[in-house]
């Protein structure tokens, strides 16, 4: 693994207007090429805010982000061309068919014609959606929607893929397909930054994880490394509970 990070985050801080505490509190982090990096944390920990800043959705209050050597302050448009984003919500148009949705998002990346058609057909086939391509997304099952949601972030062949809880609320089979595909594209060189509530999933999928709580990184490393020398913790979830507490979060 190269030691030159593909994502460099330095003292990143986000304070929302009117908020008493920062959503993200001066975090610094390096993510390396070809990693599957998990950003874990309870609700309201700052995961989505961090990913949103990395994707250029809104600016940080303080700090800097470099993606593939490009400063997000100065050349956000270039960064947007090399990243793919799979939002937590099903970010699709429910009245359009799966194919129409993918065609629209492909066009937004500047891909048209037969090239786009080929790519859409390829991904529909990979995710077992060929038969349903011409049905409106509103009639899809949760798992089918999640799969199309993922394809929309992959169409332009991104170098880095950000996924915000990509497997939430879906059946085991769909989850399996998605996770297997993520491993496959990672092998082909795509760096994956991923948030999840599912600790077991993260433990199996990620090379490294950062546990984030109240805007701070409270643990960072390989899941196995985090468990080393701590026989009282059987798995990542035990560490997670230990670090973030048992109090429920809003």
């Amino acid at each position: 693994m190269s030691r030159q990070p593909i994502i460099e985050i330095r003292e990143l801080t986000k304070i929302y207007k009117g908020a008493e505490e920062p959503a993200v509190n001066s975090i610094s982090l390096d993510i390396f090429p070809n990693e599957i990096f998990g950003l874990l944390g309870p609700n309201g920990a700052g995961k989505t805010t961090t990913i949103s800043i990395l994707c250029g959705l809104f600016p940080a209050t303080k700090g800097s982000v470099m993606i593939d050597g490009i400063d997000s302050h100065t050349n956000l448009e270039k960064i947007k061309q090399i990243i793919g984003v799979v939002p937590q919500d099903i970010a699709l148009y429910p009245t359009l068919t799966g194919r129409e949705n993918l065609t629209f998002f492909g066009n937004m990346y500047g891909i048209y014609g037969s090239e786009l058609r080929d790519r859409i057909n390829h991904y529909l086939s990979e995710f077992g959606l060929e038969k349903h391509a011409n049905k409106v997304v509103g009639k899809y099952s949760g798992g089918m929607k999640r799969r199309v949601n993922l394809i929309a972030g992959l169409l332009h062949g991104p170098k880095i893929l950000f996924l915000d809880e990509p497997t939430v609320g879906i059946d085991v089979q769909s989850r399996l397909v998605i996770l297997e595909y993520l491993k496959e594209i990672n092998k082909k060189g795509v760096t994956i930054v991923y948030t999840s509530h599912y600790m077991e999933e993260a433990e199996n999928l990620c090379n490294r994880v950062a546990i984030i709580d109240r805007g701070n990184i409270i643990a960072l490393g390989n899941p196995k490394e985090l468990l080393e020398g701590k026989p009282e913790f059987k798995n990542l979830e035990n560490i997670f509970i230990h670090l973030t507490g048992k109090d429920m979060r809003d």
Partner: protein
């Protein structure tokens, strides 16, 4: 729905307005109870005056019985009829006596007749023609009925004054030969509608209604547009779109483009309804005229203003409920103050001033300029420019609000 409902709206509102103007078929006229206790000239003239109008249908008996004052009053009280007119007993005799006395007093001033005799006599008390109105009758309609009764009264009175002068002068001056025609109305009214064209355009309900309701429907684009914007924001599509290598303004302008096409198509459908559909229901056909460039530019500007307004509302308001409530009610308010329902010249001064701020007022002024005055591009330019500036303002507000207040889900 965006195309059919506005066409239905145009059809119904045109029919209603045409009816209100009294130019539809007789079967749509309003029944008026008429009690003639006078049985003389005034009663007959008032009755024939109303009978001659397409807007009213005179009824002088109920259940095969001649109408009495009590019957008429009860019928209106029960809400069976809107209006009842009662001409009192002796009304003509009183009027005639007063006219004769007036003439005699005037002639006495010239030394004709016996001044000593007439100076001692006073005028009889006024007579009351009673009109019973249903409480639901609108003021404007009430005024029209009263004015119609009054018009007949003055016409009779004038004729009698002349007749009496002639008679009295003939008595005093045997050489005097009264003219065969005692009185002729010399003041007549000719309607003209000056326009920019050589051929006069006659205003009718279609020329008024089609542009007015077209504007109204165009601004209702605010509902689907705000729904689309909020759904995109809430559903996460905007989140995804903003992570793509396109600017927010590109996305906004793409949306403007799509909804402009909807608005323009909607307008075309409504104009076609004015030309084809309205005549099928006995209504006047909409005449578009030959100022097509002016019509196109005006329609484009109104569409842009409507779409811009929808963009702004959809960006500023957070939820579907807020946007739908504000959007629909604000469109109705803008239509009301803009003069789409009640002409501006009928509004009080403060409302007239307010109306000048409504984009719908600029729109209707521009359209009337084309449809009723035959105005060209030059004549509609002031309104078109105002609408363009309104559109630009809404886009700027949208962009600024998005940048500082609503960056996606923050």
């Amino acid at each position: 729905m965006l195309f059919i409902m506005p066409a239905v709206l145009i059809l119904i509102s045109s029919m209603m307005q045409e009816f209100a103007w009294g130019s539809l078929a007789k079967d749509s006229s309003i029944p008026v109870l008429f009690v003639d206790n006078d049985h003389d000239s005034l009663g007959t003239k008032v009755k024939s005056g109303f009978s001659g109008s397409d807007a009213f249908q005179i009824i002088d008996s109920l259940d095969h019985k001649p109408l009495t004052t009590v019957m008429a009053k009860n019928a209106v009280k029960k809400g069976d009829y809107l209006i009842a007119i009662v001409v009192p007993k002796g009304a003509t005799a009183t009027m005639r006596a007063n006219v004769r006395l007036s003439v005699a007093k005037v002639l006495a001033g010239f030394g004709m007749g016996n001044p000593m005799l007439v100076n001692g006599i006073s005028f009889r008390d006024s007579i009351n023609v009673t009109i019973f109105f249903d409480p639901t009758v609108k003021k404007a309609f009430k005024n029209a009925v009263i004015s119609s009764v009054r018009e007949n009264y003055y016409r009779i009175q004038t004729e009698w004054v002349f007749q009496n002068f002639n008679q009295e002068i003939a008595i005093q001056m045997p050489m005097y030969k009264p003219p065969k025609e005692a009185f002729k109305e010399i003041l007549k009214f000719r309607e003209e509608y000056p326009t920019y064209r050589e051929v006069e355009l006659i205003p009718n309900s279609s020329q008024h209604n089609v542009p007015a309701w077209t504007i109204f429907a165009m601004f209702f684009i605010v509902i689907p547009l705000t729904q689309s914007l909020i759904q995109e924001r809430e559903g996460g599509s905007l989140f995804r779109l903003l992570t793509m290598p396109v600017s927010y303004m590109t996305l906004v302008m793409a949306k403007v483009g799509v909804y402009l096409v909807v608005c323009l198509t909607q307008t075309a459908a409504m104009l076609v309804a004015g030309i084809v559909l309205l005549p099928l229901f006995g209504l006047p056909m909409l005449v578009i005229g030959d100022e097509i460039p002016a019509l196109f530019v005006m329609t484009l500007m109104v569409s842009m203003a409507a779409v811009g307004y929808g963009l702004m509302v959809g960006t500023v308001f957070k939820t579907h409920q807020q946007a739908a409530a504000f959007g629909s009610i604000s469109v109705i308010i803008l239509a009301a103050i803009g003069g789409l329902w009640v002409p501006i010249y009928l509004m009080p001064a403060s409302m007239r001033a307010l109306s000048l701020l409504s984009p719908m007022n600029w729109a209707i002024t521009g359209y009337y300029s084309i449809f009723l005055r035959g105005g060209d591009l030059w004549q509609v330019a002031p309104q078109a420019i105002k609408l363009l500036l309104f559109f630009l303002s809404t886009v700027i507000i949208t962009a600024v609000y998005h940048k500082y207040k609503r960056p996606v889900n923050s």
